[in-house]
Symmetry: C3
Subunit: 155 residues, 3 copies
C-alpha cells in the first residue's frame, strides 16, 4: 500500500516507531464510522520511555521532544490500524496531558511537539483542535501522554 504521508515524514527525518502494545486491557484504536479513536500514547523517544516532570526534571526542550514522541506513536498506531497514513482525512483532536510541576504553565509549548508533527505529516489536514493540561503524574512516570481522534477516508 502506498503511503505518501509516511514518505513525507521520512523526508523530514521523522521515523515512525513500532506501534506499542497497550500496557493494559484495552486496544490502541477503535474505528467508529469514519472516526478513528486512538488510545493515549505515552512519550516513547527512540524506543525508551521519557519519564519525569516538566518544571522539575524535564526541560521545555525535552518536553517538546517527548510530545513529538507521543505524536509519532499516535501515527504508528494509525498506520497499524489503517494500513496507510494516506487514509487520514483530517486530524480532528489531540488531548495532551503534561506531567507538570505546580508552577509550570507552558503546556501549550510542550504539546506543540505533537501538533507540529501533525502539520508536517498532513499539511492543512493536520491542523487540529486540542486541549493541553497539566497533570501531577502519568502512567509509568511518563513526561507526556496524548490521545487523539482522526477522521478517516473510506477505502
Amino acid at each position: 500500500m502506498t503511503d505518501t504521508v509516511a514518505d513525507k515524514l521520512a523526508a523530514a527525518g521523522a521515523t515512525l516507531p513500532q506501534a506499542a502494545a497497550p500496557v493494559a486491557a484495552y486496544v490502541p484504536t477503535v474505528l467508529a464510522g469514519n472516526m478513528l479513536y486512538v488510545s493515549g500514547q505515552v512519550s516513547f523517544v527512540d524506543g525508551a520511555l521519557m519519564t519525569g516532570r516538566l518544571g522539575e526534571t524535564v526541560s521545555l526542550e525535552q518536553g517538546v521532544i517527548a510530545a513529538r514522541g507521543c505524536g509519532l506513536m499516535l501515527l504508528a498506531q494509525v498506520k497499524a490500524a489503517l494500513g496507510s497514513l494516506d487514509r487520514v482525512e483530517r486530524v480532528v483532536k489531540l488531548g495532551a496531558f503534561i506531567n507538570s510541576a505546580a508552577d509550570f504553565t507552558d503546556q501549550p509549548k510542550v504539546a506543540n511537539g505533537a501538533s507540529e508533527l501533525m502539520i508536517t505529516a498532513f499539511g492543512e489536514a493536520g491542523r487540529h483542535a486540542r486541549s493541553a493540561v497539566g497533570v501531577p503524574v502519568l502512567p509509568l512516570g511518563a513526561a507526556v501522554e496524548i490521545d487523539a481522534v482522526f477522521a478517516v477516508r473510506a477505502v
Copy 2:
C-alpha cells in the same frame, strides 16, 4: 426489553447500580447520531462513594474496585438511556482520571477495573480505546472518575 448483556453481567456477579443523578447542571448521556456520550462517573461502590487517593489512602486493589464501580455506573447510565445494553454496538473510548499521589504511576492497572468489565459485558465489542491519567483531586474526593463514548445500533 430483552437484555442479554445485563444477563451476562449478572452471571458474572456484576450488579448494575441505580443510575446516579448528575451532581450538577448537566445530563448523564447525550446521543449524537449513533454515538452515545456518557458523563464522567465517579467511583460509587455498593452505593457509597469510594474516596481517597491512590498511593496514599487507596490501595491498588481498592483502586481497581473503584474503577469497576465507575464502569458499572457507566453501564447503568447507558441502560437508562437506551433501554437495553444490547443496543451497544461497540465501547469506543474510556477516559480514566485517577486521583493519584505524585509518585503513583499504575493508572493503567487501576483503569483496568473498568476496562475488564466492558469485556465481560460485551466481549470483543467491549474492547475500547482508552486514556488513563493521574489527577490531584476529583469531585467529592472520589478515587476515580471515568467518562465514555459508545457506538449504538439503530433500534
Copy 3:
C-alpha cells in the same frame, strides 16, 4: 446571518468575547461530519485571563465566573466557525479541567458556570454530557480550561 441564540445571550447580559487566537500550533475548531470539536478554552473574563487555583487563590464564586468565561469563549469560537450559533443542534460534551488545590472537591459547582451558560443559550439543546476533574496547573496559570463537542445542523 440571523442569530437568535446570540440575541438570547445578549438579553441575559452575556456578551460574546472576540474569539481568541490559539496560543500554539493548533486551530480553535474542527468540523468533522456534523460534529464540531472546539479546542480547550482558558478562563478569559472581560478580556483578561483569570489565573490561580481553586482552594488557594480563587474562590468558588470566582471559579464559577472563570468557567462561564470559558463557556463564552467556546461559544465565540463556535460562532466564528459556523457564522451563527443558530446552527448548533446540540451541546454534546464539555470537558472541564479545574486548577485545584489537593483538597478542593467542588469541581462540579465550578464547571456549572459553563454548563448553565449553555442552557441559557440553547435551552434543552444546551443540556450536555460532561466530565469535570481537578488538575494541578493549566496553561498560562489559568483557573479553568474547558473543551467541547457540538452537534451542528447542515446549512
